[in-house]
């Protein structure tokens, strides 16, 4: 087991002698270029309403309007909307972590007949756009009596084929000999999963957690279809409704958008340690 761990955590670093500072600057420039729209969004969220549509952007607001945030929240039941989104996303994340890992592991390391076919079939669920399956999925949820409830929104999102695929790819690279050796040693399957497989795919688990949370956090079309009462709305529905109401300053809509990025970002910040552990050993940071 210890040899296994040693192989994962790089014991030495390949020293980059070639000008790390230049690299840092180049990388920072690239990151900045990517981030410009977010800066625009954040800056605009502190501006007065009429500044929103000026084509020459005022990057640092001359007059700050932090009241956009409480104003925006008060114009709709956003507290409730964010709570609903949080509950749904957390449940979806958990469901994905459990079921996708199991299924990914099964597909990666167990050679039952037609495993490839099953993988193709699972991927096929991603090939039909949501709009077409909207009505029948709605009917299924309706039959269960789950309309306008948390279960109804969570239901179809609970297991995502992307997640299964991701975990399969992550687990496929674990050398099978470790598993075989453990089996010969008499370990049960669940123990193998828990003690050998999972620790090795921590980065992928972290990625899966963040992605599944984020994907369900942003969901719009499905909650729009299954929810017809205001108190069960998720925040994207609130955001669109907010924007459609022409009485609302659009800068406040940006404020809500900024708020919406925070939970997923926090989750990512917490989990990214799991897969950038290797960075920490560089000593250059």
């Amino acid at each position: 087991m210890t040899e296994l761990r040693a192989a994962i955590i790089p014991p030495t670093r390949l020293i980059r002698r070639s000008r790390p500072l230049l690299g840092s600057i180049a990388l920072a420039g690239l990151a900045f270029a990517f981030v410009v729209p977010i800066l625009w969004m954040t800056t605009t969220s502190f501006q007065a309403g009429e500044k929103m549509f000026q084509l020459t952007t005022e990057w640092i607001p001359s007059v700050w309007h932090p009241e956009n945030y409480p104003n925006a929240l008060s114009r709709g039941a956003f507290g409730r909307y964010f709570l609903n989104s949080g509950v749904v996303s957390f449940a979806v994340m958990t469901g994905n972590l459990v079921f996708c890992t199991l299924a990914g592991y099964g597909l990666a390391k167990f050679h039952f007949p037609c495993a490839r076919l099953i993988l193709l079939l699972i991927l096929s669920t991603l090939m039909l756009p949501l709009e077409v399956t909207l009505v029948p999925t709605f009917l299924v949820i309706h039959k269960f009596g789950w309309l306008n409830s948390y279960q109804g929104i969570i239901g179809p999102l609970l297991v995502d084929a992307f997640g299964v695929f991701l975990m399969r790819q992550a687990i496929v690279s674990i050398p099978s000999d470790y598993l075989e050796a453990a089996r010969i040693d008499g370990a049960g399957e669940l123990r193998i999963l828990w003690q050998i497989v999972l620790p090795q795919c921590k980065p992928a688990l972290a990625v899966l957690a963040v992605f599944s949370f984020r994907d369900s956090w942003d969901q719009f079309l499905w909650p729009l279809t299954v929810v017809s009462v205001d108190r069960m709305r998720t925040y994207p529905l609130g955001l669109v409704q907010f924007g459609d109401d022409y009485g609302n300053p659009p800068t406040e809509q940006m404020a809500i958008a900024v708020l919406a990025t925070i939970p997923v970002f926090l989750l990512f910040a917490v989990l990214q340690r799991a897969f950038t552990r290797g960075f920490g050993l560089s000593g250059l940071k």
């Binding site: 994962i8 690239l30 167990f110 193709l120 756009p129 077409v132 010969i184 940071k285």
Partner: protein, 318 residues
């Protein structure tokens, strides 16, 4: 519980299992393992059967009917498909979609890989840069579309940046030449960081001593990349290519909000056409037929990818 000598190698176990299995368990050793594997996959399969395959089959069935959502579907055979072939809008949209999927997938994969490699050089601040770039993926899609619509205004920020080069204005979103490239650009901007993180996770799984050994053997960085990094990243590349393609096939809000499919038909993609046909024109049967076409395209693509990559997987990983 096995009672067998632990010095036996897996290959021996395989050879022995046939004859000795029944002495120890009800099922064959190998079968038991397989049963476990199947059990792991089962909940997911059941879930998909209820929530995905059922609706998908219904949608396929629907493509042979005329259904306006408020009355019963009426069987029309292949009429929907025939109509589609004769419809210039469908043909244009199909071409747009193929261009969009192709362009997005290739660019996303390349940009994500490049970014991941850049981050993986682990220069000071790399981790922060990664987090900053990932932020772009977290913006709510509505905000993304609004922001980019303004940045890409003929007199907006991007045009202003080109002033020094002599461009007075560029009609990014309203000229049929630049509209689709802009949508592809925004798509890459939004999704490359997502896949960058996937690649980083994959890059980190490659032990550094492989690189050290190669370095000691005198391999150049390019050779190290080509012979070590790329092969070991194969599972992740496979993932990114397939998922990026599937994602771009389904994307609908971005072109819908940024250009509305315009100018003319320049940025209309199949997912948008499906939405309009089904919910705006109330022709669900026809929308289902369009989806079936999209489904077939993606199925063929994924199947080809599987054949290409899964062979390599076995070669490099096992």
């Amino acid at each position: 519980m096995s009672g067998k000598a632990s010095a036996l190698l897996p290959s021996d176990a395989r050879a022995c299992s046939a004859s000795t299995a029944r002495r120890f368990w009800r099922f064959d050793f190998r079968d038991r393992i397989r049963a476990w594997g199947f059990g792991f996959v089962l909940p997911t399969v059941v879930f998909f059967a209820v929530f995905k395959y059922g609706p998908m089959l219904w949608a396929l069935e629907l493509s042979f009917t005329s259904y306006d959502m408020v009355s019963q579907p009426r069987f029309v055979g292949l009429d929907n498909y025939r109509d589609l072939l004769a419809d210039p809008i469908f043909r244009e949209t199909l071409v747009n979609t193929l261009v969009y999927i192709g362009g997005s997938t290739v660019l996303i994969t390349l940009v994500a890989l490049a970014l991941a490699l850049a981050i993986n050089t682990r220069v000071p601040g790399a981790r922060h840069c990664m987090m900053a770039m990932f932020l772009t993926n977290l913006m709510p899609i509505i905000a993304v579309c609004l922001v980019w619509r303004f940045l890409l205004h003929p007199h907006g920020l991007i045009s202003q940046l080109l002033h020094p080069l002599g461009f007075d204005r560029v009609d990014w979103l309203t000229s049929s030449w630049t509209a689709m490239p802009c949508i592809i650009f925004v798509t890459v901007w939004r999704f490359a960081p997502y896949f960058m993180v996937v690649f980083i996770a994959g890059l980190l799984a490659i032990p550094d001593d492989y690189y050290e050994a190669a370095h000691l053997d005198g391999a150049s960085p390019l050779q190290r990349f080509w012979y070590i990094t790329l092969p070991l990243l194969t599972p992740m590349v496979f993932f990114v290519v397939v998922v990026a393609a599937l994602l771009s096939a389904r994307i609908f809000l971005m072109p819908f909000i940024i250009t509305g499919g315009g100018p003319g038909n320049a940025t209309r993609v199949l997912s948008m056409l499906i939405y309009e046909t089904g919910f705006s024109y109330l022709k669900m049967g026809r929308a289902a037929a369009i989806s079936a076409v999209l489904f077939a395209i993606m199925m063929i693509f994924t199947f080809l990818q599987m054949r290409f990559y899964m062979g390599r997987e076995e070669a490099y990983i096992r």
